[in-house]
């Protein structure tokens, strides 16, 4: 696609372009996608775009009266700072295992009919989804609580890391304790 792209306010400089190129290389030697899907659970790590509509369809259930879908996306602006893209990497097998453990825990605490927990790896452009958390329960309070638990605990425990590439050419691993 031509034309409209030239309107971008900040053309990315060469360093960013170079970093982005390296992200396009096949990024996961340890095998994605990994997926576990049955009637009640859909857990997946993938390099592909996440399909929120498919998650919604999966969550529909005759016994559910409340579905909560959380979609985490790449934000372009954090204060004055402009983000070009995020890039995610994972300890894939362990992350997949931990994600399933989280779903088990959520289902043990809340009466969820269906749960999905999907995470994208590799390059995730501005406005695209990196994570989809969905819970279908009989009532909304349980669905809200379970989805909150899932995303909060995922951010604490699941071995996935994101690198933020900024429009000014800098980049950093988010939550890195030694970066300023």
């Amino acid at each position: 696609m031509g034309g409209p792209n030239e309107q971008r306010p900040n053309a990315i400089d060469d360093r960013v372009a170079e970093s982005i190129k390296s992200l396009d290389a096949p990024s996961d030697p340890n095998g994605v996608p990994v997926i576990r899907r049955d009637e009640e659970r859909w857990v997946e790590l993938t390099n592909d775009k996440l399909d929120v509509a498919a998650a919604d369809r999966f969550l529909r259930d005759r016994l559910a009266g409340g579905i909560v879908l959380f979609v985490g996306t790449t934000r372009e602006w954090t204060g004055e700072r402009q983000t070009e893209l995020l890039s995610y990497e994972a300890h894939v097998r362990m992350a997949f295992r931990e994600m399933n453990v989280l779903v088990d825990k959520a289902r043990g605490k809340w009466p969820a009919m269906r749960v999905c927990l999907l995470h994208r790896l590799g390059r995730v452009d501005v406005t695209e989804a990196s994570v989809v958390v969905g819970v279908a329960c009989a009532h909304r309070a349980d669905a809200y609580d379970a989805s909150r638990f899932l995303i909060d605990t995922l951010k604490e425990d699941v071995p996935i890391w994101k690198k933020e590439l900024f429009a000014d050419g800098q980049s950093e691993w988010v939550n890195d304790p030694l970066s300023e």
Partner: protein
């Protein structure tokens, strides 16, 4: 007698700073505590030493306490603070 080494897995900052995504590590003996393996890695790699107090350990895809034993052929992952989501 040589035994199967442990594969140490590095990610994100550590992977970039050390310049490789795995390190092959010879245990002092079977059941060597995970924290002792980490100490030994810290002696060899100043990049890892800098992150020492932030690292969580995982053996064969499960988080473990430092006293957990590591066996020949195990995978030991050094997990720096995560940032998924």
């Amino acid at each position: 007698m040589s035994q199967k080494p442990v594969t140490v897995l590095l990610f994100s900052s550590l992977r970039e700073l050390v310049g490789q995504d795995t390190i092959s590590f010879e245990l002092a003996g079977p059941g060597m505590p995970a924290s002792a393996v980490l100490d030994s890695l810290c002696e060899r790699y100043p990049e890892i030493r800098a992150y020492r107090k932030f690292i969580r350990l995982a053996v064969n895809d499960c988080y473990v306490e430092g006293h957990a034993g590591v066996e020949p052929g195990d995978e030991l992952a050094l997990i720096t603070p995560v940032s998924g989501g």
